[in-house]
Amino acid sequence: MTVAHQGLTGLLDTEALRKDFPILERTLHDGKKLVYLDNAATSQTPRQVIDVLSEYYEQHNANVHRGVHVLAEEATALYEGARDKVAEFINAPSRDEVIFTKNASESLNLVANMLGWADEPYRVDHETEIVITEMEHHSNIVPWQLLSQRTGAKLKWFGLTDDGRLDLSNIEEVITEKTKIVSFVLVSNILGTVNPVEAIVRRAQEVGALVLIDASQAAPHMPLDVQALQADFVAFTGHKMCGPTGIGVLWGRQELLEDLPPFLGGGEMIETVSMHSSTYAPAPHKFEAGTPPVAQAVGLGAAVDYLTSIGMDKIAQHEHAITEYAVRRLLEVPDLKIIGPSTAEERGAAISFTLGDIHPHDVGQVLDEQGIAVRVGHHCARPVCLRYGIPATTRASFYLYSTPGEIDTLVEGLEHVRNFFG
């Protein structure tokens, strides 16, 4: 540890942890060590998860449910066991409230579609309103635009303050008696902002609107307690939390899942089918049509085990220390401007910035030549770029294996970028 890192507290033992992630050993461009700072896009996968995936296919693979043979029973036990693990991870009152999807986007679309086809009192139609925010990921914008187009419901949103926070000053005009659903991000993937859940939930409850929280950037990074959030639905995605691709989660309150109509139809989600009509299985199966992503759910279960073994509070602490250090160091870089909160308070471990008028694509490319992987562009949150009048940002985002040394490398890399285009 260099002098600059002294005083950083709450860091994890990354030297040990990093050994769990084979990809972090990779070198690029003639021997440059990989500095992976694109964790908000996807996290890397520990050996513990990769091994569970292989073991699933080598030992237990079968289609789940309905099988009376050993493999089918084992696969089912593993799949449903993963549901138990996820339920515990988010402190769900019941395992039956955990629906497996393919990614967070499907989870969000699922809610939008359920509400579009629902009966009263949930039904979204031309007399009702939908509320989102200007800092949503496209996956929490487009489903509502589609729903609004299809039903005639009015789409409204909270704007942003100059320092990257939600502007809730007009909350009473935005969320009204007409609001059926308020859907917002817990931690922004572009700004890093952690949003004030309680204020929004309180207002939504006042008017009887449902609340959907997009926890895609929260579940990987901090303890998540769906009961404490008091939301009706919470969505997140496996590949950002040490899990495999191809798996997402929607948690929903049991009564709602019972009342709301199914979305996709097919095998597994039915109770009984005739050519004339069908009845549906109880949740969560009602919302899981077809052969589910079995191995991926099992892999997500292993990821949850991995994260829990480290401790979500410890991970949050580590990332907070790293983020604090990163904010401090980045602000030392001339012409660098952070887009989003410029302190580490109430913010997650993703930091977007601009570097003078050097285009982010160029920043990212020159950093890549040094082995540093960051993301550039609008990060699927283009309205945020429009809001701040910029075409794109460069984003560095951290995770449990990120080190202060990697921040130093990033800062040196940015100096190089400045010189190169200067």
């Binding site: 449910h65 309905r66 099988g67 009376v68 089918a72 029973e73 089912t76 009984t272 299985a281």
Partner: protein, 154 residues
């Protein structure tokens, strides 16, 4: 899992056939198509008859036969107790070794202990029991639930 007792009940079911009753229910196990139509007849709180017709695997058929043998003639409270113990056994995932006390209560039904290891089959074993519970609720109305709630808190 195929204890002789189970095979016996399967091949020679007790009380099979539909007879007169106070309520009738039809239950289906959607995962395998097992079906049962079941009627209960009460004399006050005494179970006068449980009659049934159905199709399904040996486990679901034998279980209905055992149910008939065990419950007919019993008082509702006692039948509910038996049902509760049977449910506990079936949900034990093979981890419950029936002791003498349990055997006294469940009689032939302890033979189903092995079935509890097979999650796909537990539903088969429970099909008739769930149908009986449902039919009883219909026949006796709200009383049952009150009584059951009482039993739970007792």
């Amino acid at each position: 899992m195929y204890q002789d007792v189970i095979l016996d009940h399967y091949k020679h079911p007790h009380g099979r056939g539909l007879r007169d009753g106070d309520a009738e229910v039809h239950h289906v196990n959607p995962t395998c198509g097992d079906e049962i139509t079941l009627r209960v007849k009460y004399d006050g709180s005494r179970i006068e008859d449980v009659s049934y017709e159905g199709q399904g695997c040996s486990i679901s058929q034998a279980s209905a036969s055992v149910l008939n043998e065990l419950l007919v003639g019993k008082d509702l409270a006692e039948a509910q107790k038996i049902q509760g113990v049977f449910l506990e056994l079936m949900q034990s995932k093979g981890r419950l070794e029936p002791d003498d006390a349990m055997e006294e209560i469940l009689e032939d039904a302890v033979a189903f202990a092995g079935v509890s290891k097979y999650p796909a089959r537990v539903k088969c074993a429970l099909l008739s029991w769930m149908a009986w519970k449902d039919a009883t609720a219909q026949a006796l109305g709200a009383d049952v639930e009150a009584e059951e709630a009482e039993r739970k808190t007792a």
